[in-house]
Subunit: 174 residues, 6 copies
């Protein structure tokens, strides 16, 4: 773990407690972690409701609150428009050097491994509870989503009127 | 200054002592600073020799060494392919909210001001000495560039064989 | 209504009587109307069969025939490749200033409202009758589509061999 | 001239009296004219200071004031990023059918002619006086630019604070 | 057939015996054949698993083995991001002149015909047996795919670890 | 040289005797050669007058005439819009595997070497005589350019009316 660096990839729509547990688990294994916020250029859809700006704010507040800023680098990563063979190259030119990538996504795993990069799975932490798709659904339906995300994330979602946005995108204008 | 946030824009090719002095000057005025590394997608030219990866590494080490990680957010910002009217929109969707932008670049100033964003000039700190174009020239010519950048930056430039790269790009292969 | 300007957004694939009724309704409320023809770059699919060229021609003939050219500005608007946060910025840099946007599309409404732009719904005019998806289906199936569009539009569709195109795209080559 | 249509191409940065004279000259030869505003996506540079939005506004007011709206179609045309072989294709899919193109630009003429489109030169009208580069220079230098553009154009330039923009872009902030 | 040239379009994911039979059938009709490998920029999906590099290698080895290199030109063709009206223009600027296009794809046929290009259907050769979607499915499921492609293609698929890639993309990591 | 493959990169605007001599020199060292035609998407400028279509035709005829089709693979390679760090990745996903790259271009050499690819210089063959810039200049000026390119290339240039195109682009319309 001496000076080792992990690269944790996700879309974080939004960043929830499952992500935080994963981050802590990685921080037990690596000295520093680069959090790569993927699909950086997308927002305002049911699947990708939050802008990169908003997602960086979520992660930043979570990390700062827990005094982890000296160990966590936050980066936005645009998608390569379905040109998957270019994605690893984009990672290499955007992201500071790292020792291991952490992701459970099939495509990312294939691409990183073919490029000779070490990839590790992340254990799921109560996946049936902490799952972004489910949380977005709860936000739209007026369910109990707040307890599934760190308080800093709930704060950001409210500040940017994320509940109203998601409900409007779902055609649930009041 | 309570909770205020500044946005400091540059290309940082490379990050030198002039940039560090500017950063410190801004940190006296703002609680937090977002360092926006512009022209993120460019590299391997005489004007933009270093990748975003390498520039993030430079800034990160400088910031970490000086115990500033809890006050500095580092972000890569792609250019908008000459479509300047889209640039502020890109900033807004990529960069967490800020109170003031710091830049001396004419175009950035015009675009930010037209969008109603407060813009502040940055005082120059021995500009004739600390100037990125000049430093890149010194690297190519084998001059005394190391004393013009923080030691962490010199370290990164050597690790990525930046001297060889710049000399080769200038047609000075040995 | 003095000098007020509305912005009416649609894909107009094709421009039908429902659109014309909406346009007239808006013209009762605004001095001028900018008709924004969206998804400008797309064509030759079942959903977007007509090129921008063809759609501008349709709208132009309809508007000219009804002596409305001094009150209607026609504009093509490319999509922003799923980068929705950039769309309002594109609108602002492409479309002359307006006072109110008219659209029933959820996503457009969210984006425009978040940018502080006034948005108005458009009443539906016999929506079960005048609906573009249905009209395109009728064209493919050889149904009675001509009575659902202004005669100028039917004329353009025939001139560009739009019926043949739609049927061929649907795999119904004769 | 019966029902004939011309296609008049320019960047119109800004639209000046030379352009207006050319437009009138074309209108003597064609029933309708499509004004194609090129480099649509560019703005905020010394060469392309005005957005498409602003240029459409200029042309619209000029055309409306002279009661020409029933004979003039205004269109924005994005550049094809140096992929010149695609440009005619873009024209064909964006611009309603026309009989003749009017332009003095070498590249446009080559591309249009190779595609079998008839191209006509436009006579210059006091070119040493009415020339966009010169007018932009006068705006920056505080010279007598207003008499070189129709009053409607001067009005738009002032409304969008175009003088301030150009001077700031030129590094002449006050 | 004297000096005539055909243009045979496909994605060739992978190149199978049905393609080879089609190629031979075209070579009976044309002096030379340009094989256009479409969707050149895509790879690493279940639908487009192989890179252009790998597909060119497949076709090259098949063509070389059969002593056809003097009659076959291989070309990669990027898609035009749903901007179908630009596709024929891309073909014209990328692909050497040809007399006839060979394709059974509805969209390609529409686009080529509207541009005045002669298009010919290709007879299907045991389509229920030789079909790329089915072959990709067999690769994932561990079925008998090898006999459906020329031995040179099977060789390339194994060299690039295509079986492992497809199975991993399908979420069938071992 | 057993089964070895070289990758020869150039823009070939146009393909001249210097290129042919280089190709022959490489063919003495490699079993097969991939000719990568760079800046594939550009054309109709003084620097890049010929489309990829035309350049493939030139190289194909030269190669075919000399019975080299079984040893030469021709490929078009689009530029990566100044995103140089992505270029090697594009090469890898477009170009079949090779053992050595042949180029004298500084930037290409830097990028390929940093990616661990072997790069070889090409000896110049009467460079003051065979040089594309000079040949394009001679075409414009009506000089003796034909003897500097293989007859097949001269043939293509005349078929596509390349002389007229270059002269027109240079503002030398007759």
């Amino acid at each position: 773990m001496k000076n080792s660096r992990g690269f944790y990839i996700g879309r974080f729509q939004p960043f929830h407690y499952g992500h935080l547990k994963a981050l802590n688990w990685i921080l037990e294994r690596e000295r520093e972690v680069i959090i790569g916020i993927g699909s950086a250029q997308f927002s305002h859809t049911l699947r990708n409701p939050f802008t990169l700006s908003e997602r960086v704010e979520m992660v930043w507040r979570v990390v700062k609150k827990r005094d982890l800023t000296s160990r966590v680098i936050i980066m936005g990563l645009p998608d390569t428009d379905e040109q998957h063979s270019m994605w690893v190259s984009l990672i290499k030119s955007y992201v500071p050097k790292f020792d291991r990538a952490y992701t459970n996504d099939s495509l990312s795993r294939v691409l990183l491994k073919e490029a000779g990069i070490e990839v590790s799975n992340i254990p799921f932490f109560e996946r049936n509870k902490y799952e972004a798709t489910k949380i977005r659904r709860l936000i739209i339906d007026g369910g109990n989503w707040e307890e599934l995300v760190p308080p800093e994330v709930a704060e950001v979602i409210k500040e940017v009127k994320g509940v109203e946005r998601l409900r409007a995108l779902a055609g649930r204008d009041s």
